[in-house]
């Protein structure tokens, strides 16, 4: 997936569409948009960072799973959780450097974005992509050099989140604002990040 952060204006349509698609418990979200406010008057800015599972090439969540309930599908590279095997030990929740996982109170298992596997396998776009009014989210096959996502990645300067963790994410951002509250602890610049999760701090 490619996320063109320049186009995102924070309507949270993706968040709502995702919530409606999966009926996750109150307070939890599989995908959300973070709001970043920064700067001191008059040099201020506000930007948005849509977040979802990165479906990494080297997922940190998979090798820690003691039951093999979470794995990366060989055919399309989607990282999935088998709800019938997962025991809810929360190890993967701790291991994800992006805090994408949570424990679903209804099923008692780990839960996260699965690129809307039921829609994607029917040739449809994920719910968040469908709902986005500004086409900030573009879904496709990165292995196919002719696909729109491959062209976007090839033609634009792209970034991924926390590349230093060695997870090799598959969600690429164009024009993303990587400012974090911790970046400016020692300076006087104002930064506020709101995540729209149960706990609003970003870790």
């Amino acid at each position: 997936m490619v996320i063109d952060a320049r186009r995102c204006y924070g309507v949270q349509a993706c968040t709502v569409a995702c919530k409606a698609e999966y009926k996750v418990p109150l307070g939890e979200n599989r995908s959300w948009v973070e709001e970043i406010e920064k700067g001191n008057y008059p040099a201020t800015s506000r930007s948005f960072l849509p977040r979802l599972c990165n479906h990494c090439d080297e997922p940190a969540c998979v090798p820690v799973c003691p039951t093999g309930a979470t794995y990366k599908r060989a055919e399309d590279g989607i990282v999935v959780i088998d709800k019938n095997i997962c025991i809810g030990c929360k190890y993967c929740v701790q291991a994800c450097p992006y805090d994408m996982r949570f424990v679903n109170e209804d099923t008692g298992t780990a839960d996260k974005c699965d690129f809307c596997i039921h829609r994607v396998s029917q040739g449809l776009d994920p719910a968040c992509v469908e709902a986005c009014p500004s086409r900030a989210r573009i879904f496709g096959d990165l292995n196919d050099p002719e696909s729109e996502v491959s062209k976007l990645v090839a033609e634009n300067p792209v970034t991924v989140l926390r590349p230093e963790k060695g997870t090799e994410p598959n969600v690429y951002y164009i024009g993303a604002d990587h400012t974090d509250e911790h970046d400016v602890v020692a300076e006087t610049m104002y930064v506020d990040v709101k995540t729209h999760r149960r706990y609003e701090e970003r870790r």
Partner: protein, 320 residues
């Protein structure tokens, strides 16, 4: 500030109890081998306490984490069996298998010390020696894996340190020794014969000097953990700030772990042990002092797990 804690009190209790139980069995088994495996004597006394106490906290701790599982809480009570349908290199998988093996062998080891129970296969003393050799590596494995479990994740910079497993191992041995000291002092009554009292003091001396040594190593491990975290930049430095002065968990760490759990009992034990160690004087410490010291060490071990588990979860990677 309210934080998102996925691993709460049950996991903290488990890490503490499993460490203490494994430590107690390991200390007991090593004492037995050190004493030659005889049926009586100072080392036998200590080994008996260690062997009988060891499995109890481990089993309680394991029950605590099973009740904490997400699947248990939605009614899939036996879903945790899935842990034993596969074997992979996840520290939790390795740890679960280790735990099962340790619980079985430590229970067998404890059984061999129940003199009123029949010993079906062969000689009791030979069994004890064999089980001690099995229990020492398994117990060390259980104690060390609790640290590896937390340390395996780059996403939790506070835990992601090789010192953590070492710290947990030393703390397990130290709290295990303290558990033996406490139980022994608690059970021992006054009005013993001169000979018996001599023996009690002798084993007390061995235990106290063992614990002093462990506390010394633990202080060193804490120092290295803090120092190497503080000397880096980025994630780890930011994470360790939670327990450095000014951090959210600083007072709990410095008062609960360092002062009450390490420095005070360490100094008291050194004060108790030094006359016998240096001047070969008789070791005479009242059982109340012994119990107080042991409780302080055990309390410190618990707070250590609390601080580490909490600090790891309230911090994360810096930057996005």
């Amino acid at each position: 500030m309210e934080h998102e804690l996925f691993w709460g009190m049950p996991v903290i209790l488990y890490l503490f109890l499993a460490g203490m139980g494994a430590g107690s069995t390991v200390v007991g088994a090593s004492m037995m081998l050190r004493g030659g495996g005889g049926p009586r004597g100072v080392h036998h006394e200590i080994a008996r306490y260690g062997a009988l106490l060891g499995p109890i906290p481990v089993i309680v701790g394991v029950l605590a984490i099973i009740f904490e599982l997400g699947s248990w809480n939605v009614g899939h009570y036996f879903r945790f069996i899935n842990l034993f349908l596969v074997m992979n290199l996840s520290p939790m998988s390795v740890g679960s298998w280790l735990l099962v093996a340790f619980i079985i062998t430590s229970l067998m080891f404890a059984y061999s010390y129940l003199r009123f129970m029949p010993m079906p296969f062969g000689d009791r003393l030979k069994w004890r020696v064999a089980l001690a050799w099995i229990n020492i590596p398994l117990g060390i494995g259980v104690a060390i894996y609790t640290g590896v479990l937390l340390g395996a994740m780059p996403s939790r910079p506070f835990w992601n340190s090789p010192m953590l497993a070492f710290l947990f191992l030393i703390s397990a041995l130290s709290t295990g020794t303290a558990l033996i000291i406490f139980a022994r002092a608690f059970v021992t009554r006054g009005g013993l014969s001169e000979e018996k009292r001599e023996e009690v003091h002798k084993s007390g001396y061995i235990l106290a000097s063992t614990d002093t040594e462990m506390i010394g190593f633990e202080i060193l491990a804490v120092f290295l953990f803090l120092m190497f975290a503080y000397l880096t930049v980025g994630d780890v430095r930011y994470a360790v700030a939670t327990i450095l002065p000014g951090g959210e968990l600083a007072s709990m760490f410095w008062i609960g772990v360092v002062l009450i759990g390490l420095v005070i009992p360490g100094l008291l034990e050194l004060y108790a042990v030094a006359p016998s160690l240096i001047y070969k004087r008789k070791y005479t410490v009242s059982r109340w002092t012994e119990m107080a010291i042991a409780l302080a060490v055990i309390f410190g071990g618990f707070v250590l797990r609390y601080v580490v588990v909490t600090a790891g979860q309230i911090t994360g990677p810096v930057g996005i």
